[in-house]
């Protein structure tokens, strides 16, 4: 473990420069360049807001703010997009970097850290865009928003833990990534991002509470829209699950590393 931390420290420059290059390369040939970094998430939020709020005319029960639904939606999207981006990139992390892993020796732990860094920055930009939208519709966030400092790392840990386990298995069984792409779509609709959990029939409620993403997403909605603290019991449970997943991921990663390059 200390060995791994030492390796991360030694390669810190590589990790930072990789994250930076990831963005540089993405916007290198566009004339607006870095402005896209803000425009893209802004457009994403605007589309959801427009389509789901104006067109469907949804209103949130229990609030009189006609934009409450937009806020509800964007809060959920903020959590979900971090989760889904990190998870889906982790799924193919070793396969995509196969050539590099076959030719160059470097601490492999760098790869997920680079992904996490890049996803975190994307999410930060989305957060800025989201706060911009809030400002536009006259919603102010209270001190409960500081909970994001806990919620973002938690989402990160959950996605990284699950993603690395599946990403490792995907090296040996390539169907894992294909299956997960379908599962993720289903998972999105099983998580109350675009709908309220209250519309879920009583007999399916247990399915909701077994979904860690439900607790994460609803915590985001609580702290950003309702100005209330998250449900501590379930959040704590989610944290335990995330740490457990991370531990399993690291163990799996170590056991498999001798054979991983053999099959890449």
């Amino acid at each position: 473990m200390t060995e791994m931390l030492a390796a991360i420290w030694r390669y810190r420059f590589f990790i930072f420069s990789s994250v930076r290059n990831d963005f540089r390369a993405r916007f290198a040939r566009s004339s607006l360049g870095a402005i896209w970094m803000i425009l893209q998430p802004l457009a994403q939020v605007a589309i959801y807001a427009l389509v789901l709020s104006r067109v469907l005319g949804s209103r949130l029960p229990g609030t009189d703010n006609k934009y409450a639904y937009v806020i509800y939606l964007t809060s959920g999207i903020l959590a979900w997009s971090l989760f889904v981006e990190l998870l889906s990139r982790c799924l193919t992390i070793f396969v995509d970097n196969g050539n590099l892993l076959k030719k160059v020796v470097f601490p492999r732990i760098c790869l997920p850290l680079i992904l996490a860094g890049s996803a975190l920055i994307n999410n930060l930009l989305l957060l800025i865009a989201t706060l911009g939208v809030f400002l536009l519709v006259g919603h102010s966030v209270g001190p409960t928003a500081l909970w994001l400092l806990v919620l973002v790392p938690l989402t990160l840990a959950f996605a990284l833990g699950l993603g690395l386990i599946l990403g490792t298995l995907n090296v040996f069984v390539r169907d894992v990534a294909q299956v997960m792409n379908v599962v993720l779509q289903l998972w999105f609709w099983l998580t109350p991002v675009v709908y309220m959990p209250t519309i879920v029939p009583e007999e399916f409620k247990y399915a909701l509470s077994a979904n860690p993403m439900y607790w994460i997403v609803s915590s985001y909605q609580n702290v950003l829209l309702f100005h209330t603290a998250p449900d501590m019991e379930h959040l704590g449970l989610t944290a335990v699950i995330s740490l457990g997943l991370l531990a399993v991921a690291l163990l799996l990663f170590r056991r498999s590393s001798a054979e991983m390059v053999d099959v890449l």
Partner: protein
Amino acid sequence: MNANVLVLEGVGKSFREYPSQILRFATWAGISVRNVQEHWVLRNISFRLGRGEAVGIVGQNGAGKSTLLKLITGTLRQTTGSLTVNGRISAILELGMGFNPDLTGRQNVMHTAGLMGFSQADIERAIPDIEAFAEIGEYFDEPVRTYSSGMQMRVAFSVATAFRPEVLIVDEALSVGDAYFQHKSMGRIREFRRQGTTLLIVSHDRTAIQALCDRAILLDKGEMRMDGDPHTVMDYYNAMIAERENTAISSVKLESGKVQTTSGTGEAVVEKVGIYNAAGEPVEFINVGEPAELRIQVKAHTDIPRLVLGYLIKDRLGQDVFGTNTHHTGQALEQVRAGQVINYSIRFSTNMGAGAYSVSTALVSTDTHLVNNYEWRDLALVFTVMNVDRAYFVGSNWMPPSIAIDQS
């Protein structure tokens, strides 16, 4: 202090094939699994590399060369044996592989050096040298997609060798690029070696191996066939390429300490080889510019539809000086009968520099020994050219000049 920078002992590598991937996962949990197919690509490789040694690794495709290199660099892990490395290993393999086409040369250099594990401060110190060595001018700050492949190679080589490693692995990649940069990069490799870097060179190019290496290792079907002097190993390798059924390779140590390698199917053999002077006397020493005659006696053991004799004169470094065969001169023999004895007389003037030369002979059916190799004999004859009465000159070629000097 340990003088060995790299020690391999009984290193083997097998790729495991499991009937089902579930069983592979089970082995990670410590459960032993039967029915595992083991496919061995390397077995029992043992050698040591000392500081400043230059060792060539030769072998046909599929002999296990790249697997061995991956084990040494550490991207693959050996299945058996032990592998110890003292110091940093740098590999010039697939140059420029990690380059991002949309980033500039400078950004890619920073990134690649970071991947090699160097700190920002180290890299920033090295960047001016890298830029200067690559010599691509303003392109260094242009996106790599605008580069020619030669320019990309220059940058990649410069960054790969920006920091002197303990072991440098050089793949065939070196043959890329323009002649100027090839010279420059060879210069840097030689300089590293002087400073104590051990070189590990993988190439099919006999000249490169013999020019750079003081030792060669021959791999065949995942096993070490030979480890020794590059001449001997390259001769053996050459013979091995021609190896077929019924072919025997033999190595005989000559009195001079060199090893004569003979291979072939044996339908025809060289019985006698000799070099003679203009008076027809057998000699060992020939004066520069003197007419000489190479006499080769061949005996056929079976009926042979077509017989070609080839010969090759090599200098003491094993570099080809001159070689041809009777296919190219239009003198191939048809329908040679069993028991027939053929005498070849090859006359030439010794337009060669002073030094020792060797003659290899080949008895084949076409212009190459790859179709029918009746007999291939390296070091069939050794003779020495001496400069007795000519003006002093260096080189392996005698090109008598006429020098005019105008002094006004």
